[in-house]
Amino acid sequence: MSFLSLTFASPLILLGLLALPLIWWLLRLTPPRPREEVFPPTRILEELGKREETPAQSPWWLTLLRLLMAAFVIFALSEPIWNAQDKGTASNGPLLLIVDDGWSTGNDWDERQTSALQIVREAENAGRPVALAFTSQGGQADLNAKRASEAEAALTAAEPKPVRVELTPLTERLQEGTGTDFSTSIWMASGIAASGSTELASALATLGAEETIYYAPSRNNTLALTTVANEPDAMKVTLERADTSVASSGQITAFDVQGRSLSSGPYNFENDSQTSEVRFSLPVELRNEVVRVGIDNSTSAGGVQLLDERFRRRRVGLIAGGNADQQQPLLSSLYYISRALAPFSEVRQAQDPNVVVSVPQLIEERVSTLVLADIGTLPDDVRKQMEGWVEGGGMLVRFAGPRLAGAENDTLVPVKLRRGGRSLGGTLTWGTPQPLASFEESSPFSGIPVPADVAVSRQVLAEPDIDLADKTWASLADGTPLVTAARRGQGWIVLFHVTADAVWSNLPLSGSFVDMLRRIVAVSNGSVAADRARNNATGERAEVSGAQDTVLPPLRTLDGFGRLGPPDNDTRPLKVSGQELPSSSIENPPGLYGTNDAFVALNLFSQAANLQVFDTSLLPENTVQRIYTAAKPVTLKPWLLGAALLMLALDCLAVLWMAGALRRAARPVAAAGVLALAFAVTVPDTARAQDKAIDIENTLRTRIAYVKTGIRDLDEVSRKGLTGLTQFIGSRTSLEPGTPIGVDIASDELAFYPLLYWPLSDQSPVPDAAAMARVDAFMKKGGSVLFDTRDQLSGGFGSSRVSGATQRLRQILSSLDIPPLEPVPNNHVLTRAFYLLDVFPGRFLDGRLWVETSVTDESDASRPARQGDGVSSILITSNDLAGAWAVEASGAPTLPIVPPNPRQRVYAYRAGVNIIMYTLTGNYKSDQVHVPALLERLGQ
């Protein structure tokens, strides 16, 4: 008996529910007879004169609780099971189980495996032989019925394969006959319509089994990344899905070669839309780093696209001879090239028509391809530079034109050119404009359709040479070369024997021109890599053509769950012929082929896949349809009994409470509970609140901070010193700093403090790298750190002797990005920020204060104060400033001055004021010192 997903093993016990009214009546009985107690002081009770009767009925909620308890027990005894799987097979003969294990089954493989295992185990229990076939095995599938335990082992070990499954071979095998009389045939389908799905279903149905069962996922949420295109402004990733009925969304992520996530973008399928797009708007350099794009949380090979050099965007530099006519762009010689190249590469046009400037500039911009449209002789040094660039791997594409045709001794051409040009179809010529001949197999242009309407009316001619044919990538119908190329070192020089505009031919107007340019750009750097891969594979130096078959070893392959890993043993090397990669197969699963530094990426999909959900109405009529069950059956009995027990406990508590037993005990317990709860809730909060309070206070009051070194005496002196300085500043200036605070540089937020006082001693611990990174960030964001080595007596900073504290300072500073330092010059803002000072004494007199070197100009020398832009992020002294500032609570100084000159202490305070004012106001004060000069200039 079952309804919804609930099944009862012993439904008859549910009749017990009929007893509930009886229980209700019993529960409503009047309370039990009173206890009879002999009690001598009954007379005293009489004096109380009170009589109270309990209510005749127990309260309604108690009755309800007990009724519910009874009902739960009854339900529990009827052994309800949630999601019970009573979908066994009915017949008893051999069982044929066909399991789809194509790429689309990766996402819900566990459910499929569970369902299949359940069927196989049932068969095992029933002693039925099982024939297990995976669709990826195609015609090699083993259709002989074996012991179910063998099938179970095979099924447990099975994993989805990253292939698009062809069902036809298996269908043919079935149609040939299996030799076994199967009584049950089951197809655990992927749910995606593949070629031959319907045929396989009908082949199964005609197998003559007693029952034919078709399993499909309840909801087909198969998703695939079909194409990745590196467009000018963004990388566009196209997703496709099979089930278009509902809207869905998610996220895809791009990874670099190390597996680091570079960027994520959300995708969103509208209702009824089959495709969706995600655009990664990243800088080109970053986009070129992407080697893998994957759907988040997808465990299917279809959810991954691997990228190789072909997906990189190449930077192409364009230089044109002559004046680019901006008024009439269509006449500009670069117009067609830039239009043709822009969709798949990044085009950089020379800013300066002067090649002396523009060529180095473009090379500096790391273009991989340089297009020179009708540029004749280059200046010698530019030519040399360009030769070097080409030798180093550059791709130089030149277009002919009047200047090139007239140039002499041009070495940057693939073939020797005849001077002048050839004109066809002119008034004075015999020949007619020539069309293109079809591209040679060995040419990188092979496969591009030859446009019939292209006619070349003028060209430059190559000198006939022995290797001219080898260097020819494209030629005219009469055999004269149209495009020639030659290798120079690592790079290439390609020459179009026509102009880049439509004057000499209408080639630039045709679609083939775009394809040709694209191939050429692909041959540049990136393809050099792929080419190298081939070279490595074939062991010989292949021509760029790539025409011959090359074999690439598998490098890393995708498994059925979309994970990139080492290739399986049975993965075959990828055989590449021509420009296009073969489609992936079971022998060549999607993955990377080649070597680590030069590989090609083979993807499951390289174009729109047109995923469709298999239409189950196409199934033969007698086929039973089922869905994979994700949920395991849940026996509800223990839960119900547990709930009943809980209610029993509640009942007991309620009865105890009504009897008053809890009253005495409950109060402290409840109070303790509330207290504990309150404690638990508030403890973390107080810490946070405290933090927050400090932050808020810090934002409201400027305060000076010192670094807690962990040495108690040192910290105490720092605190007292900054307190003394704070008092001094408060009484002498309009600044009233808050109470100084000690900070832990490893954990406290430093952003609030303009100045960190950092005393050092030879015992000072050197903070770890993370803490130093924080200090570095603090300094770079405009904070200042005042290091005090306090060792003037024993040498001091900047002297030849090195004390322990100075050594510590060196260790600390070694991990910081420290600009060059200098002792405070006489005209530094520090000497004038508040008081006019020439020394910065602390407890000791002679140490100098070191600051960042400010940029000096000769013109600065005469100025009263330096044009210090910003504040020195680091100040170093050895005078023990805090020691001189330190005061006790009574106001008396803590430490003596060396030498004992009270005036020196005042100067120390003044130095402190100047340092604080300097860190707070910066160069504002340096402007202030100009006031006399300004007033003088104003004539006052």
Binding site: E36, V38, P41, T42, I44, L45
Partner: protein, 304 residues
């Protein structure tokens, strides 16, 4: 049927009780009844009172005071010294103590936390006291049952008489006619009778010049009221029944009232100069006996 808190026990009879009483009494040192109050009823006895007075035993030497009889000078001692010493004897005297224990049905009550019934405990205490006093040479009597006995086996004879008279009188208060003034009266009872009745006879006794000690035997159930839920209370004396739906609600009021009664009794005793001792049947009998000892010996009041 739930277990009841308290039960009514059988009457404890003399012999067994006497044995227990002797066991308790053995633990108590000789009881020296406060002499201050008994000067007039003093009959020459043989036990010392730890102070100088008329007796045979040597007590102390003390310097001779002018005007004292020369006969009292102890020349032997004086000869050893320049001073003249007088030899003092220890005062030896006996005292009459009347002991009475309540025998009403309410005394038969015993709750589950108590070890014995109140009657049992009070009889043990009474006989133990009698044993102790008799051993100390005091005259002991049970009003209405025996006269004042000065034998050392007074306790035995009292218990025999109690058995003979079936526990003595059933009255709720001791018969005071027999008792001469300035005697000591020790009453063991739960004092659950109406307070006015109790106060009435206490007052009368005090007017007779009797010095009394009231030992209030309380069952722990009576003072803690451990009842909850629907309970029917029955008075063992009158048989009256009283039913309460939720006995626990009475608890606070009852305990107040009970404590008030106890306080009234204690206050009355205090104003009369009597002793009031509270004893619970869940504690050891010896504790009550020690308390009695302390009070009767006057140690509690600091007299010497």
């Amino acid at each position: 049927m739930a277990l009841t808190v308290g039960t009514v026990t059988e009457h404890e009879k003399g012999t067994g009780v006497l044995a227990r009483a002797r066991a308790r009494a053995a633990l108590i040192p000789d009881l020296l009844v406060d002499a201050q109050r008994i000067a007039n009823t003093m009959v020459s006895g043989w036990h010392g009172r730890r102070r100088r007075g008329i007796g045979d035993t040597f007590w102390q030497f003390r310097p001779y005071d002018v005007g004292e009889s020369m006969a009292r000078i102890d020349w032997r001692r004086s000869a050893r010294d320049d001073a003249i010493y007088v030899r003092d004897q220890e005062w030896e005297a006996a005292h009459t103590v009347w002991i009475w224990a309540d025998n009403s049905p309410s005394m038969l009550y015993k709750s589950e936390t108590a070890e014995v019934s109140k009657q049992s405990r009070s009889l043990v205490l009474a006989l133990a006291l009698a044993e102790v006093l008799a051993k100390s040479g005091e005259r002991v009597g049970w009003p209405g049952v025996t006269g004042a006995l000065s034998n050392r086996n007074a306790a035995e004879r009292i218990s025999a008489e109690l058995i003979a008279t079936d526990g003595g009188t059933d009255s709720s208060s001791p018969q005071l006619e027999q008792i001469r003034n300035r005697s000591e009266l020790v009453v063991f009872s739960d004092f659950l009778d109406p307070l006015e009745d109790t106060l009435k006879w206490v007052d009368q006794a005090a007017q007779q010049g009797i010095h009394g000690t009231l030992v209030q035997i309380i069952d722990p159930a009576e003072e803690r009221f451990p009842f909850a839920g629907r309970t029917e209370f029955r008075d063992p004396e009158t048989g009256a029944k009283l039913t309460f739906g939720r006995a626990e609600t009475l608890s606070a009021d009852y305990l107040n009232l009970f404590a008030a009664r106890r306080e009234t009794l204690a206050d009355t005793c205090k104003s009369l100069g009597w002793n009031h001792i509270v004893h619970h049947t869940d504690t050891l009998a010896s504790t009550a006996l020690v308390a009695l000892h302390v009070r009767l010996a006057g140690e509690g009041k600091g007299t010497s």
